[in-house]
């Protein structure tokens, strides 16, 4: 910007001070903008949580959580088992926000949910009164090759320690094809009952846990919105929606019949 000169050719005091003001303003505005850009980009980056970091019970979804949590640590103080910790700068988790690592200390699922009660901000949803309704994550048996039960042993530890035994984790029997005569007892997690407390991951006897609590967005698949279960639709409608059911017919070799009660293919009695 050219400086208006007074008659003597020297910039007038007013022009000089206006120039100085504009220079100062652009200097500080530039600095502030650059700093904000940096912080903004950093906030994007820090929004991605490591999979092993689990939020306390009742935590809002991650995007909302970042706007709600005021990083005071009152939930950490309320936890009687010192499960929770506040993330430190450099941890890879949004600094100052609460989390726990199940393999180190799992959530003990207190009946009165003291961490949620202590939260002043609503980042931990005060509507959560029953700890069984918490969904901190979901246990997933990630390594089926090293899980002892998958190898045919009766470890069962994850199943035994689960606070919702027989609901969140059940044992499903499948044949043990290696021995040819035993059953394998497969720990099977049910999302409708698993709170993500992490006791299974904490207790897994392997060097590295075969069952891990993962954040829900990693642990769960999702059906296409347009997808319908044929048998449910059929039941609701009373009959098939696509083609009408016809009586099933077999083309059997001549002189044979088929017994549906288990005998199978038979010589025709005729």
């Amino acid at each position: 910007m050219p400086i208006k000169a007074s008659k003597s050719g020297v910039p007038s005091r007013q022009a000089e001070s206006r120039r100085r003001f504009l220079l100062d303003l652009s200097r500080s505005a530039t600095g502030v903008t650059l700093l904000s850009l940096g912080v903004g980009l950093y906030s994007r980056q820090s929004a991605s949580m490591p999979a092993e970091a689990i939020r306390p019970p009742g935590a809002l979804e991650e995007a909302e959580f970042a706007s709600a949590c005021i990083r005071c640590g009152l939930c950490v103080r309320a936890c009687p088992f010192d499960t929770l910790d506040l993330a430190r700068l450099g941890d890879g988790i949004t600094t100052g926000t609460p989390y726990f690592t199940a393999r180190d200390v799992p959530c003990e699922m207190c009946d009165d949910v003291p961490c949620v009660q202590a939260c002043p901000s609503g980042a931990l949803d005060p509507e959560l009164k029953q700890i069984d309704e918490a969904r901190m994550g979901l246990a997933v048996l990630v390594d089926q090759e090293n899980c002892l039960n998958f190898r045919g042993l009766r470890c069962d530890v994850c199943y035994r320690v689960c606070p919702a035994i027989n609901q969140a984790i059940t044992l499903k029997h499948i044949p043990n094809t290696r021995s040819g005569k035993h059953a394998k007892f497969i720990p099977t997690v049910h999302a409708d009952a698993c709170t993500g407390c992490g006791k299974c991951e904490y207790s897994c006897v392997l060097e590295e846990a075969a069952i891990k609590v993962l954040p829900l967005h990693l642990a769960r698949g999702e059906l296409g919105k347009h997808y319908r279960w044929g048998w449910k639709e059929k039941e609701a409608a009373g009959s098939s929606l696509v083609t009408p059911d016809g009586e099933h017919r077999y083309n059997l070799p001549s002189g044979k019949t088929y017994d549906f009660e288990g005998e199978g293919l038979l010589e025709s009695s005729q």
Binding site: D24, L25, R27, S28, A29, G31, V32, T33, L35, S36, V39, G40, Y42, S43, R44, S46, A47, A63, E64, A66, S67, A68, C69, I70, R71, C72, G73, L74, V76, R77, D85, L86, A87, R88, L89, G90, D91, T94, T95, G96, A118, C119, P120, S121, G122, A123, P126
Partner: protein
């Protein structure tokens, strides 16, 4: 202007060391006591206060929450729960009465760092400062709110030195000390009173809270001022002194009404002429000569 070896030299001679450092000492006691109260729980298991400066619970009943954080959270699109809002309201009322930036000099832990940097800067005779305008903090304040709105998160908390320091000491530091080191070095080498006096958006927010606050420093006895300049040398916000000390002829009253005065009281300490006192913001009209009358009738001697 007299040449004294250090600011407050004359005051120390005339009032004694204790009276020439009274408010400084009280301020340090306040800052350290608040820190100690927060540390009592985690270190000794005595829970007077839990949480940190962002939000805390005292004696399991009194919630206190930083209203600046609540504002950012709101800008990010979250309505806080009643506990946090109540805590925020209490803080707003307290600082409305005591002066917004009283937080900066009596509570904020970063003040310990920047005061140290300033002291060292004087000691080492480091001069030459970047001409960062003081209103930069207000630009940064606006920027933090815009950031919260755009990112949908309380983004400033990622690097806020104030909460980094306080939370770091109470809950574990991580690499937070790097940010504090940066603030220290910035204040020492780059800009005189750089962080607290020019940049910090927390201070900027609290200055707005205290725009009409009750407790103020008054230059009731300003006709006694002998232009020794000691108060200018110690004041973290020098620009607030000039109107009061030199503005009498222009009809400017004796109260330091600038919201950026941090009520640190250091000017009271270092003045050998007892020009300054703590007082209320009222009785600021100054028909020539009334200062002395006011002083005579209202001074509580603090």
């Amino acid at each position: 202007m007299k040449n004294s070896p250090f600011p407050g030299f004359e005051a120390t001679k005339s009032k004694g060391w204790l009276m020439a450092h009274k408010w400084l000492m009280l301020r340090r006691i306040s800052q350290i006591t608040i820190f100690a109260l927060f540390l009592l729980g985690p270190v000794f298991g005595v829970w007077v206060v839990s949480g940190n400066l962002n939000s805390s619970l005292t004696l399991e009943i009194l919630p206190l929450t930083d209203p600046y954080l609540l504002t950012q959270s709101l800008a990010a699109g979250h309505m806080q729960e009643a506990t946090a809002l109540t805590g925020g309201l209490i803080v707003v009322v307290v600082y409305f009465l005591l002066g917004g930036r009283t937080f900066c000099s009596w509570v904020c832990p970063v003040n310990l760092i920047t005061d140290l940097a300033f002291w060292l800067r004087q000691r080492l005779g480091i001069r030459g400062a970047s001409s960062l305008p003081r209103y930069t903090r207000y630009l940064l304040l606006v920027a933090t709110l815009v950031l919260a709105f755009v990112t949908g998160s309380i983004a400033w908390e990622l690097i806020n030195p104030v909460s980094m320091f306080h939370r770091g000491v109470i809950f574990g530091t991580g690499f937070a000390w790097l940010i504090l080191l940066a603030v220290f070095l910035f204040d020492l080498f780059v800009s005189r009173r750089g962080w607290c006096g020019h940049l910090c958006p927390v201070g900027a927010f609290y200055s707005l809270l205290g725009t009409h606050s009750m407790l103020r420093v008054r230059a009731n006895a300003r006709e006694k001022c002998d232009d020794c300049m000691d108060c200018y040398l110690v004041c973290p916000e020098q620009q607030v002194l000039r109107p009061v000390l030199n503005g009498r002829d222009k009809g400017i009253g004796p109260v330091i009404v600038s919201p950026n005065c941090t009520n640190c009281g250091r000017c009271i300490d270092v003045c050998s002429q007892d020009v300054f006192h703590f007082g209320l913001r009222f009785y600021n009209a100054d028909p020539l000569g009334s200062d002395t009358n006011y002083l005579a009738s209202h001074s509580s001697g603090v």
